[in-house]
Amino acid sequence: MHEVKLNSITKSFGRNSLAVDNLSVTFSSGEFVCLLGPSGCGKTTTLRMIAGLENPDNGEIHYGDKIFFSSKNGESLKAEKRDLGLMFQSYALWPHMTVFKNIEFGLVMKKLSLKEKEIRYKEMEKLFHLEGLKNRYPSELSGGQQQRVALARMLAVKPSLLLLDEPLSNLDSNLRLEMRAELKRLHYSLGSTIIFVTHDQMEAMTLATSIAVMNKGIIEQIAKPMEIYRNPKSLFVAKFVGNPPMNIIQVKNGGEIIECLLKKTTFSKNEVKTFGIRPESIRIVTDGEGEIDAVLETIQPTGADWIVELVVSGKSIFAISSDQPKSDVGQKVRLSFKLDGLHVFDDQDLNLKLI
């Protein structure tokens, strides 16, 4: 078990598209790391460079004491020699091979004996509930089964580093929940380092032990999931993580709410460019209490709670409430703001609370 270390990695495609921009980061051993970001942020490219499917233009990649890539002495370990597990969103099961042949492939490459191959297959069959599927072709499997075969194929060779590219995006929501639990269990029992890529912040929050939020080829923040949620370093991270998303209020648009929020902080008006406030930190309170007037615009029950749209100083914001709102649509209400969900960003879009 080793750590993965990226040092000043740069990668561009063509002249004007910088995919990864001078990226330096270390993923500790045994972590379940998630590279999270919108499409085109360089997360998949980063993963592919660790896998050896792309070569960086510049920089170094180390895995423990193995050098995967180094532009200094022009070293690049071939992908087939890196000994890691790789899984794609499409699963990339070989359609012309049976389940057994798919899983056996890596073992054949490792030149394992017939008996050993049989043992490993049995192991995987049991671990992933593949009993009775041995001679099926991928097209004869359900989505969940395909996913499990892909996992089994990757894990049969016992890699110590696993790379997953959007592993759950193709599944329907029920199956996704199940597979998330499966992956989490797997990480717990195997203890291997897992790096996975996703654009789904929910998936990142629920699975990862550490999230690296990427934007335009750089990592904006890397931290534990709850840390990312509670203390986003930048406006981008704050906006990207959370559902419904954080309410963003520009100071220059002014209004009563700005004064109200400013009063709660220690900053002056010209220090702050943007306020961000988490929906669950907005509370609808009874008349007489509260800090500001608002009009209740719409109510969306989700089953577990209620998403409420409110208009304050001509701006619409969303609150989330675990109790049914007592007022009706169109009525005037009072709001109060909890301090822990309130964030202030400067003109560099950095969180002033953390500076």
Partner: protein, 599 residues
């Protein structure tokens, strides 16, 4: 009978056709396609077992009587060896070798161009398709211009003029036929393999690599097995094509009396043996239909090999190392031999007064202007009445057929897509597809048997341009309607329904909504059959008469008479017209034509 017919009419009338334009169109297509597709087939089937007028007089029977005479003559008579069994064997021999060579060339070149760092791969991917755009007789004609020996009259072959006497086996017969067919059909294999290679989800390869497989292992264990369905398709379709090819065996086989089924069918047509023609055409069709049906079922059966597309990342070109230069040379040589070579040989032959004499003074435009050509009793290429008439006919026939075909294809598409699940939709889909299964030569024979005499209100069209237009329309219809159906599918019903809701009537919907949306589909649907029509030979060769010759058939006539230069120039003209059309098509669609040239 009368009752049911009148009931049928009441039903039709109660539908108020004018308010059911979809149904009206479908019924119109139903009648036309049934006559144009089914009637020729029925006619040729009946011709094979009924006494012809001539034989009726000779044998004292009655015209139209049931007879086994023709089946017997083809399969079991003293001449069946000559007209059927030997040609059959020859056809299979030549098809076998041509297909194997084409397959190997196509696979190797497609792998090199799509997946390695061979030099000039972007140009090669276009240039290697050129032989496919040449008329089928171009390569054969160039071959004979080059290797012809004294066995055949006319000007000397180039090699012989240079003092090398090409042996018969090199000049005529199975070897050159196989090679020339392979050279004209390998681009088809190249196209199919390139498409298949580009479609393979690259993640399938990357996973194998990450599990420790080297490039060679990835190819042998993953890529090549995934190409099996494509390989089967290439094999079956190329065999089907070679069996139906007429020009190559006619040009290169006739001097050596090496007959294939296609040329045997042709000589039976020439000697007016319509019963024998019918039997041979039926055999040829059966082989073609079996091959294509097997192909369709193979494609269906191997559907599971079609993988869910990945992220559309291109396979990074493998570095060939020391093999880069040799493979590059190999690929460019194939291009030179198959595409550039024929052009060069054909062009040179029309510019040199004496073949094989490379002195500058020997080059001039004499054959083009027709001035001062010793030993030629023909006007020059520019002034030859035959070429001018053929040029006009070619444009007229291919042009009209293409326009009718393009429009008809979209109409079939409309009818099929708008009446989903109905019997008539399924019927239209099937019947417009039927001509695809029959070799052109056999279908032409069927057409000939139907239109040689007048039947009821339909006049005998033999000898007219309209017959040639009709046969082209019907033969190209499978491609046109297939693309029409997919074009209509793509647009979907919603734009039209949105118009309907807003109160637009049928015609307004067609002209204001559908037509603008289908403009580029229509242009493609017209240019593609035009290109195919310009270089069409096997389909028309037995239907033309003096005065209705096309460029392709005229070049064969010139060859028959030994006017090599005129024949070669005619082919060059076709080549130029086709190239211009292809470039125009590329401009219009802004895509590579590669995917569209299914014909």
């Amino acid at each position: 009978m009368d009752k049911s017919l009148s009931r049928f009419w009441t039903i039709i009338r109660s539908y108020k056709l004018s308010s059911h334009p979809n149904l009206t169109i479908s019924l119109f297509l139903f009648v036309i396609l049934t006559y144009l597709v089914l009637a020729p087939i029925i006619s040729i089937l009946s011709n094979s077992i009924r006494l012809t007028r001539m034989d009726a007089i000779l044998s004292g029977g009655k015209f139209g009587d049931f007879t086994f005479k023709y089946i017997e003559r083809v399969f079991f008579s003293p001449i069946s060896e000559n007209i059927f069994w030997t040609p059959l064997l020859n056809s299979f021999t030549v098809s076998f070798f041509a297909t194997i060579i084409a397959l190997i060339l196509g696979l190797v070149l497609a792998s090199l161009v799509t997946s390695t760092n061979i030099l000039g791969r972007r140009y090669l991917s276009f240039l290697l398709i050129i032989p496919y755009m040449l008329p089928s007789q171009a390569i054969a004609t160039a071959w004979i211009t080059m290797f012809k020996n004294r066995k055949v009259s006319g000007p000397l072959g180039m090699l012989e003029a240079l003092g090398i006497y090409p042996p018969d086996w090199l000049a005529y017969g199975p070897l050159p036929i196989s090679i020339c067919m392979a050279l004209s059909y390998f681009p088809f294999a190249f196209l199919l393999f390139s498409n298949a290679l580009n479609k393979i989800d690259i993640q399938l390869e990357e996973v194998a690599t990450s599990l420790g497989a080297k490039t060679l292992t990835v190819w042998s264990k993953i890529i090549i097995p995934l190409l099996i369905p494509t390989t089967m398709s290439v094999l079956l379709l190329t065999v089907a094509r070679t069996l139906g090819t007429f020009a190559t065996p006619y040009i290169l086989g006739t001097p050596a009396k090496y007959t294939l089924l296609s040329t045997s069918l042709y000589s039976s047509v020439r000697s007016n043996e319509s019963g024998v023609v019918a039997v041979i055409a039926i055999v040829l069709s059966c082989i073609g239909i079996i091959l294509l049906l097997v192909d369709i079922s193979v494609v269906k059966k191997w559907q599971r090999f079609v993988t869910v597309g990945g992220k559309g990342i291109k396979r990074p070109p493998s570095k060939l190392g020391v093999f880069q230069i040799p493979t590059t040379i190999f690929a460019w040589i194939i291009f030179l031999i198959a595409a550039f070579g024929p052009f060069l040989v054909l062009a040179l032959s029309t510019l040199m007064r004496e073949p094989g004499n490379f002195a500058l003074s020997n080059f001039d435009l004499a054959y083009w202007t027709g001035v001062n050509v010793p030993g030629m009793d023909q006007p020059g290429i520019f002034t030859s009445p035959e070429i001018i008439i053929a040029l006009r006919n070619s444009f007229l026939i291919a042009g009209s057929a293409a326009i009718i075909c393009g429009i008809l294809g979209l109409i079939v598409g409309y009818a099929v897509v708008r009446l989903p699940g109905s019997l008539i939709s399924a019927y239209l889909r099937q019947i417009s597809f039927l001509p695809y299964l029959m070799p052109g030569l056999a279908f032409a024979a069927a057409f000939l048997s139907l239109f040689a005499v007048s039947r009821g209100p339909i006049p005998a069209l033999y000898g007219s341009l309209s017959l040639l237009i009709l046969v082209m329309v019907v033969t190209y219809l499978p491609y046109a309607s297939r693309s029409g159906i997919s074009a209509m599918m793509q647009v979907g019903q919603e734009p039209e329904e949105a118009g309907m809701v807003l109160g637009a009537g049928f015609w307004r919907r067609i002209f204001k909504i559908l037509a603008p949306l289908q403009k580029s589909a229509l242009v493609v649907a017209i240019i593609l059959p035009f290109i195919t029509g310009m270089k069409e030979l096997s389909l028309v060769v037995m239907l033309v008469t003096p005065g209705t010759e096309l460029l392709t058939t005229q070049s064969i006539r010139f060859l028959d008479f030994g006017y090599t230069q005129l024949a070669n120039a005619t082919i060059l003209i076709i080549g130029v017209v086709v190239m211009i059309s292809v470039l125009f098509l590329n401009r219009v669609t802004k895509t590579n034509l590669a995917s569209g040239l299914g014909g």
